[in-house]
Symmetry: C2
Subunit: 222 residues, 2 copies
């Protein structure tokens, strides 16, 4: 078992080395970078597509897409004209800082204000791997239920922002049971500083507050 732990530590140390390189590369160019983490199907790509389109002219984005297989998410981003680099992990459950480093080198960083990393859909493993980002953003779809902060506390404790997505499913004669106040209370118990934005990337509801937050980040000094 000690061998297992040693090797685990070595992998994390190697990851930290690349994370530091990524952070230095981004800071040197005064670029912001956020790492989006969620369960599969929370709507991360739809969120990014709408954000990039709505803020076109105000900010220039690049995207690094992590998926086990396929490049359909990168294709969806490229349809907005933003540059996107697809990483296929071939079964691995998270992005590594080394993979992100390779992707950063392929992006036209000089032309960008902000890089989004869309991690592999997984609420557990990606939270353990620093990528050199300015912060993690956890996305939770209301269809996943309001018990997720207490059941998956790690990622909620580590994130700068919680985007509660698909709130359009709560309107009118809703068939989704979801207590937004419970989620806010439980997330803030884990993380006093977390910014929480209830949004619908589909209808646009609530997105302006998220856009204001992004603008503040891009304006803020390193």
């Amino acid at each position: 078992m000690s061998k297992k732990v040693d090797v685990g530590k070595k992998i994390l140390r190697a990851n930290e080395t690349y994370a530091l390189r990524n952070s230095q590369l981004l800071r040197r160019g005064n670029k912001k970078c956020f790492n989006l983490i969620s369960s599969p199907g929370s709507g991360k790509t739809t969120l990014l597509v709408r954000t990039i389109s709505d803020l076109s002219g105000a900010m220039d984005f690049g995207v690094i897409e992590g998926d086990l297989q396929t490049d359909i998410d990168a294709e969806r981003i490229r349809a907005t004209k933003a540059p996107a680099i697809q990483i296929n992990t071939e079964g691995a459950c998270h992005l590594s800082a080394a993979q992100v480093h390779g992707a950063l080198e392929q992006l036209p960083l000089d032309d960008l204000d902000l890089v989004f990393i869309e991690n592999v859909g997984n609420l557990v493993c990606p939270s353990a791997f620093e990528l050199g980002e300015d912060g993690k953003i956890v996305v939770l779809s209301v269809a996943e239920g309001d018990d997720k902060p207490i059941k998956y506390p790690g990622i909620f404790a580590k994130s700068k922002v919680l985007l509660v997505n698909k709130i359009d499913l709560l309107a009118g004669d809703s068939r989704v049971d979801f207590d937004l106040d419970r989620v806010k209370t439980d997330a803030r118990k884990l993380n006093k500083e977390i910014a929480i934005f209830p949004v619908s990337a589909k209808t646009g509801q609530g997105m302006d507050d998220w856009y204001d937050w992004l603008k503040t980040q891009v304006r803020s000094p390193q």
Copy 2:
């Protein structure tokens, strides 16, 4: 890197040893065992609660609950009077066969027909760890989108059953875009034998076909 691979292989070999023990223990008692795998929030626990309640009298179930933290899922199962053992992985992203072995020893196996293992909510990692089960069952909520079989092919390729849950969200003036035929086609491309049941654990829609499948399994010889 070779050290990493060697240790990885050792972990998998140790897991296989326990998986074999679990399988032998279950077969000796003529008990069936299915391993439920899905993203967080697909509705696995709700599915189990309804299944256990509706089949009460026809079949006796035990449940092993895997979660990072909390025992709220085991408590929900126990409310049906079925015995449930909670495993907290304390951050680990999947259940191991050794953990399941410990839980099987705590269940009153002699009184049971079938054991459900509800794995940690994660569509990636749990598919790599055999637990000694008779089969894997993948649960996909329609709110996660219809691109999941092509984006997370491993678990769809390995499962005996696909339960497409929350189909009540597709009725009437649905706000959820989900092409059930696409999911069926893509899942069957990966796995010709997979049984697919569209269900709503909330309303009960489609559950009878799933129950018929379970009854066939419990009746079938080892």
